[in-house]
Symmetry: D2
Subunit: 371 residues, 4 copies
């Protein structure tokens, strides 16, 4: 089975050169769900590219009858982020021109809609599929109006153009999977949304963090929030519905790397999820994997209380207890004193799931995170 | 009259060196209003430093009896922003570590308070001064709780430390004046808030933009929004009050420069405003200057619709009409074509009040703004 | 007359996108000299792109009989430099990955050759055209060996690939013209090499700086130094020859801009030079313009002796005398003192030909230059 | 034994804040050699700070009689480099203002001296200690003249100020030890100079690279090159002398980290070297460690021949054979093709001693190095 490949112009640079997106689209014999996967939205988070490469290799081996619906794959989905450098490093985390996080720029229909309750009332007695279609059309129609501003003489800042291009590909999807990694060094886990715990377990990862506390305008949020809002409003009106619409952010290990184990977990997880959703029509059966769930609001990030050099840090993956030493800072000074060591201890119990790559810290810089 | 000078440690760097804030505080013989001025929150916006220098020189010539209340002056208030470089340029607009605009990080009491209506009801029959004190205490007490997190082992990201230090100096002020300039090339104007048009005219500038559309967490907003919210709530409860609490952002010309005319306007404007407010007890009488007022929501920013080089741009300060050519882009390509020129025309009438310093544009980069 | 247009792949980015060079080549009916022009080697120095655009427009109006030889034009010749950003600014002066000035990376045959005297002795009695051909072949053959390393598994750093691509286009030219501007704000002038004063005057500029003190591996140097070395060696052997080989760097005003007057000077200068060289076969006669010549070794650059903000700087283009005040620094401190002003005076007489765009200076940052 | 601690102002920033150097100087009861150690000249290379901290702790435990001569220790010796950030990373490898490698800026007396042969002739019959003193005075006197330019109105760029401050501390040392790490991920090894193999072995490291091919103006080079030049000239005049003057650059593991094993090796190595040199007067005996020596000119660095993502790279520390696969690149494209894998094989046998942290590569970016 061979994918359709679409090359989509993304941006014309000052030099006249153009950067593009490229979509690999596998279409099954039978119509069904649309799955949208992208990788490398943050420039340093490259592991998902290897996941997508291996999924392409895998999907190529299938018969069209073994795929139900469509799978869209977009590796290296943010060329400006991927190619950016500062000496040999590159987080590509934010647009250096606009000073904005590449994953906090997306169009969130929930924020622009003001008639949700009104709409919900008109749908309250319809069947779930009809509501689904009606709301989807509403979102897509509103999204389409964004082109007006893009094509006006004043146009839009690049981040708005970029989000439009990416969301054009995914706005009508059923399942959106955004492949990330830590900026620094991290475990493998996923971010999920309210009421999607059951599905989460098919990604075969050990940890899941519930996005109960929004960052705002992230890719996954922007996709699913309007649906969560509708579910919520219908619930308040007495109708309990959960749409089969899902958004996932998978965190596959460390930044600037494609750790083979993390890539392998990503590949296996996505395949198993597609199996579970019936997108892959294979003999194998999908497996649910027991997960530890936490909430984003309960995560504690540790920032350096003084400037200096971090040493004796607990290893990534450690379970720590409140009061236990997490790391020490070798602190220098310019006031004629000897250098000294400062201990920093855990505020509460938890799992160290992410640690900084850079062990030199100005005051207030990130050291590690505990879930 | 000699100011008190306070040097306040701001951040310890990884190298052990420390950067500081320094406050120049002039205290009059009679107590009265507290005026807080700062400059250079964005690293490239340096003109306000010269304004503060000239105000210090001026205040030094006064007798203590000529000052009623206090004036706090904080030049170069963001050392990390001021000292940052990328080759010879430096916008210092955002924290390169956190990727956040230095003027979108401030603590906004309005966002954390959930009992405003309840509080307003308890104040509805009190006199304005008492309400003023009660609410001010409420804000200050809440602000004080931020130190807890700062001093916990997990501490806070530097932007939260920084905002705490700056807002500590200004939280109890009556008038807050934040001296900015364009990032690029700009006219002299100010940003003001709802119901402050009359005071605005004492800054002697030609243009004022009403912040009817918040950027979110800017220094001026964070200071005044809780008060505007209280005014609004009291109004809804039937009590019409405007507190003598004001926040201003003055835009004094172009970035990376201290244009003498813009500096002079800043100095004259602030003096006249202080005179108007009775902080300066001089023989001279304050003058109101006729201003053109616009709303932020009506401003149009133009972004390049293609990549290339901007030329033939209308000059800064031009009045343009809808359909008139604003600029052209010399567009190159890498597809074997000759270079070409693209015209961009005004969408509507207005004043070109800000233009980009850099005339090379990737698609979606800023070119100019019309109010 | 229509140019041949060649699009040459330059670099494949991590995202799989490619950036290219594009050459516009006009070939006259009669063979003759090869003129090579490029613009925008430093990313912020864009004025030369407008010069090249206008030259293309002009050359298109000519008959093939009006051109003798060929003119190669390469605008936006350094896409990585042109497209780089740090917030809204971009000097694009150095490769951010390798930390190298884009104009100090070129292959200089003089440095690798060790048999110059030997070679010169074999040529001493030949006619100038034969020597010219022999030496040119020697250079080109040596240059061709660079591909071996490029195509080896270990390959080369990008700057070496880039220089190879650009020098491939120009290595066999007769006249090389590299269009630059100031990084900051500058007058219009050119850099020239030993014994080329007469030709220099046909560029119609007021000032010329002799490169008696090499920066090392600049584009113009790398092109002409081997020829200067041969001229010098032949001279020592008793043969006085000046090859009709010339390299020029034109500095056309300020960075990040395409100042119309500077662009116009560039266009007129290049046309007049081509006329003088017989490359343009028109009725008009080339004019020599009286120039002031200085040596690079006599230029004085002023660096800030303290940190602070530059004000009261003499205007660009001022003639100053030793002892005259050049600028002052408004110096702040964090030691509890009042801010103060520091005067900086000229060390010697001269013309202020370049001034910094950014008026905020850390100690040791550039302020202005006097020739 | 307590060190003298000197705080030396290094630079005044635009904000008025100052950054400093701080020297820890231990002076023994008996006079003798001067040892100079510094760490963190490149901003990301922090391991040496922990080495210096542990050496300070160790030296504090000694009696003054156990130290012969003096040991000067300068941790975090480049505050601008140490504190620089680009999101969470920071190579601090080059001065972002001047675009210069912080370790290619030093004053090299060999380059400015033009009377070496003449001087050598006057010394040819003197004893080694007298020559040593005479030449040292010559160097120091010449170095002292640099202050003139620094204190002139035109002053010097910051890199020249910085080098002056650091070299002031070390110019009269006998042994200079510069503690570095890889920018990326590296083994532990040292760089040494001609005729210093025997001493090298006392640092207890497994690998040494002879600097037979100068980078130019590095700290170690600038210190020792004048002495090597004198040794060489005397040798040509028939006098064989090796001065007891040594310069070392220790590479202690990976960038942005203080790997405990690398730090420990650094501490043990320096102690053993000081013992060997008689600077530490302890009971223990210095041990020579067998080393593998290579030449810098034989090192092969591999750069990506295409853009993409590096995977399946041989581990750091691997011995590879010519023809063996070193790594593969997962290459994407924007031309409608499937992604593909490219293998890169070793050109020759050797040890993989350094590998890139970032596995995303634009064409021409660094991947690994083989010695």
């Amino acid at each position: 089975m061979i994918p359709n490949i679409y090359t989509i112009p993304l941006i014309q640079l000052a030099s006249g050169d153009r950067l593009s997106l490229q979509v690999y689209r596998f279409v099954g014999a039978k119509s069904g769900k649309k799955v949208y996967l992208q990788a490398n939205l943050h420039g340093a988070e490259i592991a998902g590219n290897a996941v997508i490469y291996q999924l392409i290799e895998f999907l190529k081996t299938l018969q069209v009858t073994q795929l139900v619906g469509e799978v869209w794959l977009v590796p290296v989905c943010n060329p400006l982020g991927v190619n950016q450098r500062s000496h040999r490093f590159a987080s590509g985390r934010y647009c250096v021109y606009e000073g904005k996080d590449w994953n906090r720029i997306f169009w969130d229909y929930e924020k622009s809609q003001d008639d949700l309750e009104e709409f919900a009332k008109t749908q309250i007695n319809l069947d779930i599929d009809t509501i689904r279609i009606n709301y989807s059309n509403k979102i897509i129609n509103h999204f389409a109006t964004l082109t007006e501003k893009i094509h006006s003489p004043s146009s839009v800042p690049f981040t708005e153009l970029f989000r439009y291009r990416l969301q054009s590909l995914s706005i009508d999807a059923d399942y959106v999977i955004d492949l990330h990694t830590s900026t620094d060094r991290g475990l493998d886990y996923l971010y999920y949304f309210s009421s999607r715990e059951l599905s989460a377990q098919y990604f075969l990862l050990d940890y899941g963090i519930l996005l109960d506390d929004y960052d705002g305008d992230a890719f996954d949020e922007a996709f699913i929030k309007p649906w969560l809002a509708l579910e919520n409003t219908l619930r308040q009106l007495g109708r309990e519905i959960t749409f089969d619409i899902e958004a996932w952010t998978l965190e596959l290990g460390s930044g600037m790397q494609m750790t083979p184990q993390s890539v392998e977990k990503g590949v296996q997880g996505v395949k198993n999820y597609l199996l579970h959703k019936g997108v892959l029509a294979l003999k194998t059966k999908a497996i649910a994997h027991e997960m530890t769930f936490r909430s984003k609001s309960q995560v504690t990030k540790y920032y350096a209380p003084v400037g200096g050099m971090v040493q004796a840090r607990v290893p990534l993956g450690s379970e720590v207890e409140a009061g236990e030493k997490l790391y020490e800072i070798l602190m220098f000074n310019k006031t004629g004193e000897l250098p000294s060591l400062i201990d920093i201890c855990a505020e509460k119990d938890g799992l160290v799931y992410d640690v900084a790559t850079n062990h030199a810290v100005n005051e207030g810089e990130y050291v590690l995170a505990v879930m």
